[in-house]
């Protein structure tokens, strides 16, 4: 392909985006940002994406059949599984204007995942035990109403997704397939060039399941996830599910002091509060008020310095979805403005859950449930009954222990490249999808789902494989194998030589990006080649004489070789 005719040539802009992958991919002309969280793949980017998807497809074909489901789905299917009103990344469509409304006023779900489509589909075709197990997969665009979109291709509102769904007549067959899928996934990551840094971790099923799921995480300095590794059992946990035990507090009060109410107008953050009260942060308590989908009011408390893990909390309080209570509700149940909630004297209708980090302390601070006031020297057993149970409601932090092994976690940054979920009978039951067994009886069907985000992987590979000059693509997914640079092109002999070389490579089905621009300096062409990151750079110039200069993107050295030698080495 001729670079002079190429749409999306590298941009001279020095604009930095929110992540390395966004900056390099946009500068290099791989993608363009349409708005936060949605991108156009330009020709270079689309070539990389297609390669990633082709590798995934080839491996998926060993355990499933490819289909293509629509993004639009009737709302009724999502009502049937109970997810329409609870999944917080769900978007629906609606007519955009009065003329559209006049023509068709129906709303549809825009799928963030396809259990609501694939389950009724399977139900139409496969009912006999003879046809199980089977896997159906697709590669297409998913839509998620993400609150924060950032990190370039790592988190988008619209992104490429491979999703596979498997169907089984027994739980053990699901588990067998689930383990097999791990192998297939690891093979894919190996082929994509990230196999050796990718580990399997325990993770949350998000709002999709209450069970553990498994994530494939690629260790990477700029990763947005944090892994907690417990050596004893050789288990990686995603931070969001890492069981966590706070280290013992560092202060030692000997006796219970008299409880006091202290004015602290507008002082809300625990750091600021600790400083104001001249107490360690560990003595403060953070209390937040939540509302659940089943209309309950929850107060959740952790020791200052920790955050509430909403997913852990959701499982503890046993609800499908929860959100921070609005100002009005906070005021109603605590009697105070937002920021002064505490664990003292909450009304009966509020369910109180306290994290283990908040226990075992003397003379603690907590919000007074009174605007601008904080209670200090509060003590369990005297001011508040000792709860029947302390929970694990917090987001794990570096320094925390695994509660089972009491071992301190090792902590890594990583990026998720895939995830798999055992869905069991959750969706087949919702659609009353059963099979007829050998004995003629109807029995439940077990399901699993298995995701990989090809666009996300593209971003992660850039995060992992780049240097200060640009991207360093693994060979398997590079947009071209050769970046051919012609210099001194105004000299007829050189121009015709490089054209010949280009043709020869094309004829041999070697994919070449040929920088044939005449009005661009050598330095600029080299900089562009480094930025774009194609594995092999060939330079033809006056200096290269009869030969061609070869430089690998990953190496510093250059070699002068003949064309046959180069073709051989490729």
């Amino acid at each position: 392909m001729l670079y002079s005719k190429f749409f999306g040539k590298t941009k001279k802009s020095s604009k930095e985006y929110d992540s390395v992958n966004a900056t390099l991919l946009i500068k290099g002309g791989f993608i363009d940002q349409v708005m936060a969280g949605t991108y156009t793949y330009l020709t270079l980017g689309l070539r990389v994406l297609n390669r990633i998807e082709q590798i995934i497809r080839e491996e998926m074909d060993t355990i499933g059949q490819e289909i293509l489901m629509p993004a639009l789905t009737p709302i009724s299917s999502w009502k049937q599984t109970g997810r329409f009103d609870t999944v917080d990344v769900l978007m629906k469509t609606t007519p955009a204007n009065i003329f559209a409304k006049a023509k068709n006023d129906t709303e549809y779900v825009l799928n963030p995942t396809h259990e609501e489509v694939v389950t009724p589909l399977a139900q139409k075709f496969v009912l006999s035990y003879k046809d199980f197990p089977f896997g159906l997969y697709q590669i297409q665009n998913k839509f998620r109403n993400e609150p924060r979109v950032k990190s370039g291709l790592l988190r988008g509102r619209e992104f490429r997704m491979k999703d596979l769904y498997s169907f089984h007549t027994t739980e053990s067959d699901l588990k067998k397939y689930y383990e097999k899928s791990k192998e297939v996934y690891m093979k894919i990551f190996k082929r994509l060039g990230i196999g050796k840094d990718t580990v399997i971790t325990l993770a949350s099923g998000g709002s999709f399941t209450d069970d553990y799921s498994h994530e494939f995480q690629t260790i990477c300095e700029t990763g947005e996830d944090t892994l907690f590794y417990e050596k004893t059992n050789n288990v990686y946990f995603n931070r969001e599910v890492a069981p966590s035990q706070a280290p013992k507090v560092q202060y030692e009060d000997k006796e219970k002091l008299p409880r006091k109410e202290v004015k602290g107008e507008g002082i809300i953050g625990v750091e600021e509060l600790a400083e104001y009260l001249k107490i360690p942060v560990e003595k403060t308590t953070k209390t937040l008020i939540f509302e659940t989908d089943d209309k309950r009011i929850i107060a959740a408390a952790v020791r200052g310095g920790y955050d509430i893990n909403e997913d852990k909390l959701r499982k503890v309080v046993k609800c499908k979805a929860l959100k921070l209570a609005d100002e009005k509700t906070v005021k109603k149940v605590t009697g105070a403005e937002v920021g002064y909630a505490g664990i003292l004297n909450l009304p009966k209708e509020v369910e109180l859950y306290i994290d283990e980090s908040a226990g075992g302390r003397l003379n603690i601070e907590t919000g007074a449930n009174k605007t601008n006031y904080h209670s200090i020297n509060v003590n369990f057993g005297r001011d508040i009954p000792i709860p029947e149970k302390f929970y694990d409601l917090k987001v794990a932090k570096d320094g925390d222990l695994n509660p089972e092994s009491n071992e301190r976690y090792q902590v890594f940054k990583a990026s998720e490249v895939g995830n798999i979920f055992p869905l069991y009978t959750k969706f087949t039951e919702a659609f009353n999808y059963k099979f007829v067994d050998r004995d003629g009886k109807e029995k439940p069907i077990y399901m699993g789902c298995y995701g990989i985000g090809p666009s996300r992987i593209m971003g992660i590979i850039v995060e992992k494989y780049h240097d200060d000059k640009g991207i360093v693509w693994p060979k398997e997914i590079a947009p071209f194998q050769v970046h051919l640079i012609g210099l001194d092109l105004k000299e007829e002999s050189i121009n015709s030589k490089v054209q010949q070389i280009y043709q020869e490579l094309v004829n041999r089905n070697i994919e070449v990006l040929f920088d044939d621009r005449e009005d661009v300096s050598a330095g600029e062409k080299f900089a562009d080649a480094d930025l774009i990151g194609i594995p092999n750079r060939l330079v033809v110039s006056k200096r290269s004489g009869d030969k061609i200069e070869l430089k690998k993107r990953m190496e510093k050295k250059t070699e002068l070789l003949t064309l046959p030698d180069i073709i051989k080495s490729l």
Copy 2:
């Protein structure tokens, strides 16, 4: 591929859908209907779709570069072109529930077409005259808020689309490229097997442009479009834009009769009314009230037996969008319930447009603008002023003349397989996208857009190529080249022979669907093969002996051949 393991095996159901393509594709296991207008492509269907898209891609690569734009776009871009409030197929997204709303309450457009994305994209990269012309295309899912979805894959709310956009520094360069695109398109249709029946027609730009566009229409009995062919100039018009002159009326009144008001309670349709009044339908007049996007009220009248063409009307009254007025408005401006509007005594704020078919008549009927009443023996010049101009506002009918040549049209049924639009500077101006010319001056950029719907084409090919047994795929897009049927498989020698043949074909990269089912009768296997429509059917059985029976799907005869002969003939 083994048919026994195939998801989406043919369904025994005899259910008939709204079209031949839906019925055959669903029965044959190519697609599944998720809801009206959205389909899942099962493995067989996806293979056909991929082939169609690959042919399109290869030809598009000769005039453009492939990219991939997102479906979600900021509303602001659509506001900038003024289309957000007027395009009646436009859908937007919105959070589906309160939890989603709490996380991100932004709405987005779900693109039915991509001018609002590609124009700002081009603007970011190409500003110098040196880089023009260029074409960018993509193949992905489009979303349209269609009022009626029907005819299987022919009209959907979500469908596959190839859309190309070209950019030019002069109008003549746009026209050159536009003509070139017609050649490329005709080559694609030839490769898809529908070239000889596909013609280029003049059509409307819909709400996208006020100019003519060009459609590629495949002549087909079950086509949903009607083409009006004018031989004199060798031009095909789509019915929606065919200029139309009604044939002269067949009755001959000699003199103007006295005007009367006649009661006709609840009689609204022109046929019913003509019968009730004992007059020919041609004496009746149909008057409809519309509202425009710029808040004007329009009355439009045609002779009984014709319908108003909203697109022609929109152009005549010069507005961006219009819709039938609601009951309240009709009542306000006519003083009567819906159904009794007429061209007599309309209030001044109503603009009246009368079709030429309604002129040149004596003693006509028109609604009395009074509930349950009709005026008869109404005459232009006496009861109503003769309008300055009669318009062409009607949907053309078989029998109509071309107003220029006075030639009676030949009428064909056809299905649209592609369309191209000259957009001129409509979108580049909206985004203020200009280029810098050799002389250093900023000048306007001309644009064209070029669509082909791969999923739609799949449906049309089935409409054209089928018989009473099933689909007859053109070789170029068939899901497999060979449908291998094994019979008498319980006999070890036959089973191993057919397995060998299957392996041999696979090894030679011949795509085979192998019906290896043991519990299905020969008749059922033959019926399935005919339904699925793969070009070559091979049968291995006791009867075929040392040889293999070959039958082409398009032919009746069978031949007994050796494997090498068969491989040769493939």
